[in-house]
Structure formats: C-alpha cells, structure tokens
C-alpha cells in the first residue's frame, strides 16, 4: 500500500528492528530502520506509538536527537506490549506511527543557556534534547545536564555519559539515591537526589529548563528551580499520561482541560498551572 492511499490516522508504518542494545535492568534501546521522512526527523520531546502486532500499542518518547539518523527508542519492560517487544529480534518488524505532540521548543532554546533535568527513565526524551543540541553545540549557550536515579545500576547510556562527563562544553551532574551494583562513572556526584544536583549546578534565571521524570519528582524540581531564580516561563515539563491514540481522539490523556498528546507532552509551567488535575507540580 502506498502512503498516499492511507487514510486512517491509525495506520502504522512498518519499521524493522535494526539493533537491540540492553541498557540497565529492564531497559533496552531499540534502533529502527524507518522509511518515512517524518519518523526519521522526529523532534526532541516528541513521541511515537509503537505497535507490536497482536499485542498492542504503547506511546514511547523519541530518544534520538540527530536529524535524519535512526529512530531510537528506549523502552522499559513493564507490561504486555513492552514485554512482547523485548522478545523480538533484530530483523523483526513492528508498527510505528507518529511522531506526535509538541516536543521541547528547541527554536526558543537557541542562543540561550539550557538546563536539562532527567529522573530515571525520563532520560530517554532528555537524551533526544542533548543529542540535538550537541549536533549544533555552537547555537546554544551554557548547557547543564542533571540526571538522577534511584539506584546506581539504573544508569542508562553509561558509555555515552562517560564521554559527556569528559566534555568541557557541558556541565554534567549525575547521582543515584542508593549505590547498588557498579559505581557511577568517574566525576559523577555519586550519591544524591536530583534536587541536590540542581542546587549544586549554576542554573539560574538565564536558563531554559527541560524536565522529564516520574510524577513525584516534578514538584521538588520545580521548587528547586524557582529557588535558583528560574522563572516559571522558562520551565518546560514533559508529562506522561495514559494514551491510546496519540492523536487527540481517545480521551485517555486528558489532563484537566488539555490533551497531553496534542497540547503536550511538553508543557510550559505557566500553562500547566492553569489546569486543574496536574498533580505533578501543583500539589
């Protein structure tokens, strides 16, 4: 079937699994070969609907930020669809549709200082942001990356972060709440919470900040950023909600008054505060 005759917005594109790279614990990076321009050029912070035939679809954040490169998705095994994906092999096909949603406002970030804050699996979309930035490093000001996790063996993209930690044009802060298994790479902070890292960093009023992590993290991060003088209008949060369609029809991702899939998943804090039901930063 040619692309032109596709009329249903639910039609996925066939994507072949190019490589499977186990990361830490139940997290694995999947690289896909995709045909369409749209999927090859996803923007940081957008997401796709990943379909395992016979099982179901899951919304997954785009994890790769290099233009025209492979589509990469970092997936945590939590349930039916993700477990089925973990059983697949290189060369198998899945369905992908998207990309959906508004990602981080990269155009607004240009020329400014940027602070990226990730908690746990939240590093997946954040990675797409720093990859994007590093492609055109010169277009951005100071760049801080903050990455916190529960246990030290949860560290994702270990080799990549080892390299980042050595770069002079980035300030990278990594810490775990508990030491389990191997230590974090050298020069990391080792023990601590995301908020401690933010506090340590030189983030300030000039910074645009991008945040992604578990729901419980947001309130503390927002408080900490405000303490550092970051205005609300410069705080961008990527939210997770239950999603079925990704195109603003199924209703699952309604958050107060907006559809996370269409109005988000990245929201500016000023807008979020107007919505009831946003438990992450307003409770």
């Amino acid at each position: 079937m040619t692309a032109a005759s596709r009329i249903t917005p639910f039609m996925p594109e066939r994507a072949v699994i190019r490589s499977i790279i186990p990361m830490a614990q139940d997290n694995t990076l999947f690289q896909f070969t995709v045909d369409s321009e749209a999927l090859a050029n996803c923007l940081p912070g957008q997401f796709v609907q990943l379909w395992v035939p016979g099982v179901g679809e899951s919304p997954i954040s785009v994890c790769s930020g290099r233009k025209g490169g492979n589509l990469e998705l970092l997936v945590r095994k939590v349930g039916r669809v993700t477990s089925a994906l973990f059983q697949m092999q290189e060369g198998d096909w899945v369905g992908i549709r998207g990309p959906y949603g508004f990602g981080f406002p990269m155009d607004d970030f240009k020329g400014k200082d940027v602070c990226l804050i990730a908690g746990g699996l939240g590093v997946a979309p954040i990675r797409s942001v720093f990859q994007y930035i590093l492609e055109k490093r010169e277009e951005f000001g100071r760049v801080i990356i903050v990455y916190g996790m529960r246990h030290s063996n949860d560290l994702l993209f270990r080799p990549e972060f080892k390299l980042l930690l050595r770069r002079r044009d980035l300030e990278v802060f990594i810490a775990a709440e508990e030491l389990t298994g191997p230590e974090l790479p050298p020069v990391s902070v080792q023990l601590g919470r995301v908020t401690d890292l933010i506090n340590m960093s030189h983030v300030g009023p000039s910074f645009e900040t991008a945040v992604c992590g578990p729901p419980v993290m947001y309130k503390y991060v927002v408080d900490e950023l405000k303490k550092k003088g970051v205005p609300e209008s410069k705080i961008w949060l990527s939210l997770e909600r239950h999603m079925k369609c990704g195109i603003g029809k199924c209703g699952h991702c309604f958050i107060g008054g907006a559809l996370t899939c269409k109005a988000g998943p990245v929201f500016n804090l000023t807008a979020l505060k107007m919505l009831p039901e946003v438990v992450e930063c307003c409770q």
Partner: protein, 343 residues
C-alpha cells in the same frame, strides 16, 4: 437559506418509503416499558413517536461500540474501510443533533478520523421536534433548537409535518417527495407557535450563564465527595452520552501465526484503569476524582480545541445512572447555591 415545506401526516408512509429507497432507515423503537433504542426498521409503524431519549445516542451509527480499524496478515497491514452503505437516521431530536455536531468537530479535527467520517458522510439525518419531559434540560445548555447536524427536520404540527431542508443532501431528496407543498404563512405561524409552546414546556433546568465559572469555583465543593461515595464506577453515564467519545484500542490476535486485527471499543473515564500509567501511578484513583472529571468535561468543557462544554441536556445520564448521582440539573443547582427548583 433553509427551505421549508409542509406535508400531511397521512402521507408519512410514502415519505418513509422514499427515505427507505436511499438506504437503511433507523428510527427509535420501544425496547422496554421505559426505554427506546435506534434500530433499523422496515415499517413506519415501528417508530416510537413518543421516544425522547434512546438508550444510546445516534453517535453509535458513525462511531460503533466496537469497530475494527486495521487488520494484518503475513506482514501486510490493511486498513478496514467501511462498507459505505447509506444510512438514514430518522427522528433525531435537537439535543442529539447538537451532540452529533460536537462529535463531528472532534472527529474532524486533524488528523481526521476517517472511520467516523466515512460513515457520517454516507448518511442522511432527519431531525424531529419533541416536547420535553421532566428530565430534559437542553434549554439550559443552549441546545434546544436544532442549528446543525441534520439534513431534514420535521416539526410536528398535529395533522401535518413542517419540513425544513438544511443541506444539499437534504435538497437532493426533494424531487422524490411529491407530497410536499411549500410552507405558507399560516404554516409558519403554526410552526412558530409550536416552538414557543415548547420553550414554555420545560420544567427542568437552571440558569446557565455562570456555569463555567461555577464549575471552576466549586471544584472542591464537598458535594463531589458525597456523590463519589455513591458512585458505582459502572461507567453507564458515558456510553449513553451523545458527546462522550473516549475509546480503547485492543489487538485481537488470531491462533494462526501472523494474523490479527486492531479494534477500537468505547471506553469510559469512570473506570479505574483509565488514567493509570506504568508504575501503577493513577492520576484519578478514586470514583470521586473520575466523577468530577466527567462533570467538568460536560459542564465546563475542556480548554482545548473544542473548548465548549459538551453536555447537550438530553438527560440520558440522569436516567441511566443506577446510583442516581448523575442528576446534572440538581448538581448544578446545588453548586449555584439555588435552593428552589425552577418553577
């Protein structure tokens, strides 16, 4: 400008046959002592003229409770296309016409939902006037007069029907309707008289002006907790609502190796898993959270592209709630601080 005609009820049979020549005709029929449902009919005598609200609203014709969207076999994905049979939906009242209009907006918004639109575009909607009962409150929601969503509209003038034609699809049927005569001034008087009488016939409702503000202000009213305690989370309020559109997508695997389908099925925001995400984090864990959310969608409206409130005042949820907590009118009045009913 809409054209208007009149025909005698004695000619309704032939009018019906013309509709039938266009495609399958569905109309409200009686299914129990208290309930009606839109069903396909072959005989105009089956029509329940006294039906005000059917169990399910006419959205079911374009957005079926269960619908296959895709099938796949041996690596080939195929979209399911509707069979494009033409449907005539007869006897849709103003509230439901508004409901269809809202559904149209939602499914037309990009990317358009072709599954809905294909069926919608292969249909003719014939509206019908009605006299409100004690549950109707479309007047308060501003949906008591049909303004869109229909091709033809019939107003009951005792011995005659007053026929309004709204769309090109409606006009296209006209040549086949020899029983029509253009509406004369006297007919128009009778028509206006009918609708005036109807305006006065409402016994249920509230002052709508401050509704949005009230819903915002009363977000933490203790009334919600009282209602939440009684809520069964059975979800009956959502399938029956003309404007509820939430769905689930599920894969149906087949026993043979590489074959299956993707099906969408109506879902309800009242079910506990609706807003649950991985890690067992639930954004609306208790019945009261979910009930409040639904009330907000209906009476306040979301702040998204379809920013209007979505209740059309049909009263279906009120009559379909086994716990009796979906009495929207009563709830609004309580929130507004009104003590007395509208008398």
């Amino acid at each position: 400008m809409a054209q208007s005609f009149v025909f005698s009820k004695a000619d309704f049979d032939s009018f019906f046959r013309v509709l039938q020549s266009l495609g399958e005709v569905s109309a409200p029929i009686r299914v129990s002592d208290q309930s009606f449902a839109f069903k396909q009919i072959n005989d105009p005598r089956e029509i329940a003229w006294d039906a005000l609200r059917t169990i399910l609203p006419p959205k079911k014709f374009f957005y079926p409770p269960k619908e296959t969207l895709l099938t796949y076999k041996d690596g080939q994905i195929e979209e399911s296309v509707s069979d494009n049979k033409f449907q005539v939906i007869f006897g849709v009242h103003p509230c439901d016409l508004h409901g269809l209009g809202i559904m149209d907006t939602i499914f037309e918004a990009g990317p358009a939902d072709t599954h809905y639109l294909q069926k919608r575009n292969h249909s003719l909607i014939v509206g019908l006037s009605c006299m409100p009962d004690k549950f109707c409150f479309c007047q308060s929601m501003g949906t008591s007069c049909a303004t869109r969503g229909y091709d033809l509209f019939l107003t009951d003038l005792d011995d005659d029907f007053f026929l309004q034609v709204e769309t090109p699809a409606g006009s296209a049927v006209l040549p086949q309707l020899p029983m029509l005569r253009p509406a004369e001034d006297a007919d128009k008087e009778r028509y206006k008289d009918y609708w005036l009488r109807r305006e006065k016939a409402f016994t249920n409702g509230f002052a709508p002006d401050n509704l949005r503000a009230t819903m915002d202000m009363e977000w933490n009213n203790s009334l919600w907790d009282d209602l939440g305690k009684r809520c069964l989370s059975c979800g009956n309020c959502t399938p029956v609502c003309p404007t509820c559109y939430c769905f689930d997508l599920v894969d149906i695997a087949s026993l043979s190796d590489d074959e299956g389908s993707r099906v969408r099925e109506w879902d309800s925001c009242q079910f506990v898993g609706f807003a649950q995400v991985a890690g067992d984090y639930n954004f609306r864990p208790s019945p009261v959270d979910r009930l409040k959310f639904w009330y907000r969608h209906k009476l306040h409206g979301f702040d998204d592209a379809f920013a209007s409130r979505t209740c059309v005042g049909c009263g279906r949820c009120t009559v379909s709630c086994p716990a009796g907590i979906d009495d929207l009118v009563q709830v609004v009045k309580t929130l507004q601080g009104q003590k007395e009913g509208k008398e």
